[in-house]
Symmetry: C2
Subunit: 198 residues, 2 copies
DNA sequence: TTCATAAGTAAACAAACATTTACTTACTTT
DNA sequence: AAAGTAAGTAAATGTTTGTTTACTTATGAA
């Protein structure tokens, strides 16, 4: 039996992300993707059931999975609170700086119902990537280091500003110069930390 | 001359927002919209140049414009810092609670390149709705009440958590009960305020 | 009351869409 | 070396897309 060409599978994923980042999810078509990847449309259907399947796998494996792995690098639930949060922020910033196209699809996770649903279902099923962070926050809350809030609230306060800053970081095309420097990013991180401390 | 039927124009906008919220921007078609609004496809083209024009006007006028007006209600740049931020948060929460479909399109403003571009251009051209908030922050920074950060950083820290919480607020379909109560929302607001104070 | 005119409609347009059919190619196993 | 098989292709499928054409309707001005 002829083996699958893994390069082609990777090309599909890479170029799909590129089209989504540059033209938007609503402008990705199977034929455009096939042409850009220099393959036949049929080849996509060997690797993915249909368009929905491709998008969900792209989002869950290539974007969410890689991101979650990246932000937990060198992170330990037993870290000091400020240190732990700084590590998560640094990891996220570094990862997306190097994966701009992944960031674009990530943003669709909050808007597109299809991806949003996949995001929620993954969180429930997959044992929750958030678990180490959950433990980290729980421990610090119990120890009286930080305010007691629902997990959803911690997530909103701790991570959404980082995403917004990364979004701004990518926006410096039309600006005279980069506003979101490492310094600004870490200043913001400290402000967020301070806000949660008791 | 026969006058435009404003009810039809409103139906187009309302139902377009509804489809986007329920099925996603990528599943909104002109014919689906026309059928749902009980009009001919041609009628949409009397009121809007094309699909892009419709989407941008929907986003800018119906969503961004209404939101900006709503959050500045009873806000004054000379307010005390904590009081001002609380007012902005309360206004945003109230507005989106009452306009769930607008919130859905708002979320696409960060992902869809078309809307994202419209968002940026509006900010530059339109005299900037953010101006009163800009002055508010500038004054408090100069007075030494809060840390000095770029405007983009203030935006990220101050507003993105509110959006995330509102998003969570709408998610309680599959949950036993509402997690994001008024209490949690205002606790988060206070944490964000504390983080920025010097 | 008539008439000019833009609003509105139903039906159609080519182009683009997701997906499939019929076929060829390349590699593993025997 | 031959055969079996899944990977891969080119071209076509029927459907849906955004938009337009040709026509009808309703209304304010004369």
């Amino acid at each position: 039996m002829r083996p699958k060409n893994l390069e082609k599978e990777e090309a599909i994923r890479t170029i799909a992300l590129q089209i989504i980042a540059e033209e938007g999810l609503e402008n990705l078509s199977m034929q455009k993707l096939a042409k850009a990847a220099n393959i036949s449309p049929r080849t996509i259907y060997i690797k993915y059931e249909n368009k929905e399947d491709l998008l969900i796998k792209l989002f869950v494996d290539e974007v969410l999975g890689a991101y979650e792995k990246a932000i937990l690098e060198k992170f330990d639930p037993d870290m000091d609170f400020a240190e732990g949060v700084k590590r998560l922020w640094t990891n996220a910033f570094r990862y997306f700086k190097n994966n701009r196209h992944a960031f674009a699809l990530m943003q669709y996770g909050k808007s597109s119902p299809l991806l949003h649903k996949a995001y929620q279902e993954r969180d429930i099923k997959e044992g929750d990537y958030f678990a180490p962070i959950h433990r980290f926050l729980e421990r610090n809350a119990k120890a009286g280091v930080i305010k007691k809030l629902p997990q959803e609230a911690y997530r909103a306060i701790l991570f959404s500003p980082a995403f917004d800053l990364i979004n701004e970081y990518f926006e410096f095309q039309d600006r005279p110069k980069q506003v979101i420097t490492d310094k600004v990013f870490s200043d913001c991180c400290e402000a967020v930390i301070k806000g949660l401390l008791k």
